[in-house]
Each structure stands twice: as C-alpha cells, then as structure tokens.
Symmetry: C2
Subunit: 221 residues, 2 copies
C-alpha cells in the first residue's frame, strides 16, 4: 500500500539544476539539464514531463524548461539549504572549499525546514555561500545581483571576483589553486583569439582561464 511517487531527492536535483542553469528564469534546454545531471536526454525529458504534471516546471518544445512559481520556491529552498551547509562545512568544520558543494548537496536532501532554520540561526543568518553566491531567504526570495561572467570583460578592465558558479569539485580545486576566489581583485591582461584563454592579473600572479571556466567566474567591474 506504499504510494511512492517521484522521490524528493530527484525532484530537488532537477529543480535546483534548472534554477542554477537558467539563472534568473531563462529557459533551460533539456539536453543541458541532462548533461549537468549526468543522465541521458531521454530520461531527463521523461522526468521533466512528470515535473510538469506536478506543476513545478513548464516546458516549451525546442525552447526549454522554466520553473513555475511553485517550482522556483522549492528550488530556492533547496539552494538555501545547500548553501547554509556549505557555510557550516567551511566556517566550522574547516573542510576544503572545493569539496563542500558536493558534500552540502547530499546533506541538503536530508534537511527539513525546521533544521534549515536552526542551522541558519546557528550560523548567524549568513547571506552568501563560500563561493560568493547569495543564500535565498526562507521565503524563497533571492536578491538579484548585477554581476557578469568574466567573459564579458575586455582587455585592461579591472574587476573584483563576485562568485564562482556551481561546478564540479575538480574545477573548484583548480580555481582555488590559482587563488581565483570571491573578493579577489584582478585586471584582464589578455584575451586570446579563437576562443582562447583569458589571462588575469591577480595579486598572486597571472592565470590563464579557458572560456568555459571563465563563464563560471562572475565579477563586478
């Protein structure tokens, strides 16, 4: 007599990923979603259909998936919980900055609302995660930040790193190794042609970043 519908964990991962990829509400094409979740596009398509039936997302053929109001509320709560855990892991448990995203992702699924609020209070209601991204409020609101990816800058422009977008542990580790971290100032010293690397001048030295990695680095000018 067990009515087991789609598991929370699966739903949460889909909604969170849609929110992360379609930052601010842009439609996310199913193939991108599948890629990020590490599953086949066909499976993602099936799942999106189910999420649509539950009123959590809207899908327009060949355009992409967007979150409904309800879906976004859930997604932001998921992101909130994850980023709170990230703060705890980095600030209190002194865990590696590059590994906490994945660790916190797992903890997130096991976190009730009441736990999230207790954790937030314990941490002193932080507003950003260790990667610089804002932590949504418990009402699901997420402040809009006006930053842009590093790829939008031109040679000679100076800026300050605002945040690193969600990525994998190895990418975080790479960025960490070269001190590409929130709140670091830099100057764009070179942009190679043919989609080549972007070279940054940081206090710690010069670093060349490929375009796709540079997409993940959001900056203020």
């Amino acid at each position: 007599m067990r009515t087991q519908s789609t598991s929370n964990e699966t739903i949460e991962m889909y909604l969170k990923t849609i929110a992360e990829l379609g930052d601010g509400g842009a439609p996310v094409v199913i193939a991108r979603l599948a890629e990020r979740l590490g599953i086949s596009p066909v499976s993602a398509n099936e799942m999106v259909k189910r999420l649509g039936e539950q009123g959590l997302v809207a899908h327009v053929r060949y355009k992409g998936v967007t979150l409904t109001k309800n879906g976004r509320y859930i997604a932001h709560n998921v992101i909130r919980r994850q980023r709170l855990w990230e703060r705890f892991l980095v600030d209190h448990l002194k865990m590696e900055w590059s590994g906490v995203y994945e660790m916190a992702c797992r903890l997130e699924h096991a976190t009730s609302n009441v736990l999230a609020e207790a954790l937030s209070a314990y941490l002193g209601h932080p507003t950003t995660c260790p990667h610089g991204s804002p932590i949504p409020k418990s009402d699901g609101s997420l402040p809009l930040v006006s930053t842009r990816p590093l790829t939008a800058l031109r040679v000679g422009e100076k800026g300050c790193i605002h945040s690193i977008q969600p990525t994998t542990t190895d990418v975080y580790a790479y960025l960490n190794r070269y001190q590409i971290l929130p709140d670091r100032n830099f100057t764009v010293s070179e942009i190679a042609p043919m989609e080549g690397p972007i070279t940054l001048d940081l206090p710690s030295g010069k670093v060349a970043l490929g375009r796709s990695m540079a997409e993940l680095v959001w900056v203020n000018v």
Copy 2:
C-alpha cells in the same frame, strides 16, 4: 552504463537496525527487522538474502540474522555518524531531544568518512549520544556497557538511567515529558502484575511506564 547495486542507504538502514535490535550480536528474526523498518517480512527476507550474498550478514532459518565482521563494521560506522549528528543537533542547534534521532538518521546517509571525522573533532570527540548510548569509535569499536533494561529491576531497587534505546519520536517525546532521561536517579516504587506498568519514583514525581516502554530504558543499579 549505470551499475546500480543495492543503494547504500538501504543497506545502511538494514545493518543499523540489525545492530540496534540484536544488541551485542544476538540473532534478529526477520519479522522483527521488517516491523522496525516498516516493510513486509517477505521484502525483508529478500533483502537479507542479498545482504548475505554481499557477506554483510548471516541468516539462520527460524533463528535470525546476525552481522558478519564486515557488516558490523559498517553498522557501527553508521551508528557513529548518526550519534555524532544527534550531538550536534542537540548541543549546537538546540533542537528537540525527542526529534533528533530521526533527523540525524537522514543526515547520516549523506555523511562521508571525512565529514564524520571533521564533525567528531568539531564536537570534541564526544563518547555518548544525547540518549545516553555510546558513540562507536571510527575503527568500528563500540564499548560494551553493562546496563540492563528497567524491566529487570525489582520493587524498591534504586538506579540511574543510563540510556534510552532507539525508538520513535513520539515515544522519546513521552519519556522527555516525564523527565525519563539519561543520568536521572530513581526508585522502582511499584510493578503491577499481569505485565502491567512499572512505576518509578523520580525527582520530578512518580511515573508509570508500560512494559514495552520500560524495555527501552536502560539503567545502572
């Protein structure tokens, strides 16, 4: 190309439950296991067979299931992680004593070894959970404690509550309401016949406990 064997979470729940029910290594009959896990005995039987194939448990027909060395190692690590989280939830997040068992159970499944060790260090390597039970060491060892259930005492005996065995939130809440908590001293003031309630004389007053609840209360005399 996804080789998905029996999920960690499922295995962990089975092993942990066997360890909890067969405290110290007594065989656990499959029906008890099923009851505790909230599944049918047939399903539990199937699963036990799978765990047996993986060398984690041994099952003797009509006698019960026991953990192998390897199975016990995993079970104790699971219990360790859960009890560490319980400490964190109670001591730091100030969450309700009666609810933390279930909360910590969920967090446990999302906890890697490295996280568990960091958490243990953060907490100052505690040796007992908030319900009084010992926390296994990271090598899987669990100190034997020589306590007995309240049901083993006779009228007039004095004792001190050592621990409350794992149970459901509502039972914890009941015990908490009547201050039946670790380290409280008491006298057995009455034992009703016909498997009736056992009445305790506590600093906070007299409390009558049914036999099955009294089984959960472990005491030192």
